[in-house]
Symmetry: C2
Subunit: 304 residues, 2 copies
């Protein structure tokens, strides 16, 4: 539900952090707004343990939302699905959830558990609205936008049970792909206007590298998961998958995106991070890291 | 409209920054989501020129919202007004705007331009809803909450013209106070549940320090502006005002708040920043600053 409510880091108001020196640093605040000093809270969130050990976090809370209603829209082309996402964003509508499932995933899911999915479709969009009495009207507006963008079929749930059924396909995507082999999950984010380009590009990379790869992800914020399937024990396929993984990160950057939308850098993307943030960014990041941890004792292999 | 749409810093996706070394640093991304490396963007936003000179900013945009409808609610006690704010927050309603005007400001405004404000009231709450066709229903829900919290009068605007009139009082607050003397604007933020405590505490400080001080501000996110009036040329009153200013910052911290909600630290609050963030926070902030600017050439008098 990041589209509407944002990501967890936006709700982190303050932290208690044990520094490399053993000192305890308290960052942030307990208020909604505040601009006192540097934003050390956000600097430390996502730093993967390289600046300190987080021992406590103060989070902002929101009231629970009503049960959402769900819509599924089928598209015969990735460009039509991408146009629908762009039109939804441009309309100012903010669905609580807006997910995309591509053809590769649709076929894997239907093979795993037949539920009448259109395996000839290029992409399925799933959207949810959760604004209480307004939800049905909001959902109808999204349906109209999808139809306008060329959806070949739009299904609107009338109640929570139907909504849950429509989301079932999305939930089955990973187990369905895992039946085909080991799944290597990539995680790139692109501007939402470039979604179709990402889907088409990933399809080309799959052909070029001779691997099975499909895209599923959070269309509403452009955060996509290209998933590569490697048959168990196939060492040659694993090498081709690694090449595809790198090609997808290059594609994400070329589309004005980032090599990691939400999963972080870790060891796998260490070199790609340097490509994305550039030499000045690397040097400043190293200097910031040294400011926190001059001896380099914290999570030494990670990030910069 | 920070209550609903957040503050500008949340929309800053990336920056181009000239560092003390003369190098150009590019931070951030053009995507909605992204977690590549340290969040240097947020570190630099609000750093008051101490980490580099911002030469370009990439901002996320939102579609323009429909014209809002406005509500005004009169309260006979600060605790009732505070209870209304807490109840609105707890209900999950997110008004686009939620402002509070205290008795001191109400009287100054009514003296400046008579418009029939209830100068016996302890506080006036102003709220706006802007969700299009849903706005009237949302506003009615807020009105009901205000009535339930003990509002003595609730006025709902039927259209944009009436809405603008209701906001007029809020807009006149500063000119009205400035007619009485030089206005020293404080800026503290407290948890929204402590609003009444802040208003009552500021009233006590005004009595103790023998200064005219009132509170106006952004109730929806707890960001308050206690405004102290110093008659022109009254040096003794200026000294008392400075004591009141410091007492208000201490009060803000004691209520679990921050010494600056949105105006920043600058020179005026430099010493208070150290009180708020603590000795470890000061040391780490100085080290981060040195990582960006080892020679200390950038805005040397500011912040840490």
């Amino acid at each position: 539900c990041c589209v509407k409510y944002g990501v967890t880091s936006q709700y982190v108001l303050g932290l208690e952090v044990v520094l490399a020196s053993g000192e305890v640093l308290r960052t942030g605040r307990r208020t909604v707004k505040g601009v006192a000093g540097y934003d050390l809270t956000r600097l430390i969130v996502g730093s993967e343990g390289t600046l300190g050990v987080i021992t406590q976090a103060t989070l902002g809370l929101r009231p629970a939302v009503p049960l959402p209603l769900t819509l599924a829209a089928v598209f015969a082309s990735t460009s039509a699905a991408g146009a629908a996402v762009s039109a939804i964003v441009a309309s100012g509508a903010v669905p609580a959830l807006l997910e995309i499932v591509d053809r590769v995933h649709l076929r894997a899911i239907e093979a795993f558990r037949p539920m009448g999915l259109d395996t000839g479709a290029a992409a399925l969009l799933l959207a949810q609205c959760d604004t209480g009495p307004q939800a049905a009207a909001d959902l109808a507006a999204l349906a109209a936008i999808c139809t306008g963008a060329g959806a070949t079929e739009v299904v609107q749930a009338d109640d929570a049970t139907e909504s849950a059924m429509l989301l079932e396909a999305r939930r089955l995507a990973y187990p369905a792909m895992e039946r085909l082999g080991t799944v290597i999950v990539d995680d790139v984010a692109v501007p939402r206007s470039r979604l179709a380009d990402l889907l088409d590009g990933v399809e080309r990379i799959g052909i070029d590298c001779a691997v099975t790869v499909g895209v599923i992800g959070h269309a509403g914020d452009g955060n996509m998961h290209p998933n590569i399937v490697v048959p168990h024990g196939d060492e040659a396929a694993l090498l081709r998958a690694r090449a595809a993984f790198d090609a997808i990160m290059r594609l994400g950057l070329d589309l004005g995106g980032t090599v990691t939308g939400e999963h972080g850098v870790g060891l796998l993307k260490r070199d790609w991070l340097a490509t994305e943030i550039g030499t000045v960014g690397v040097r400043i990041s190293q200097a910031v890291r040294a400011a926190f941890d001059p001896a380099g004792i914290l999570n030494p292999d990670k990030v910069i």
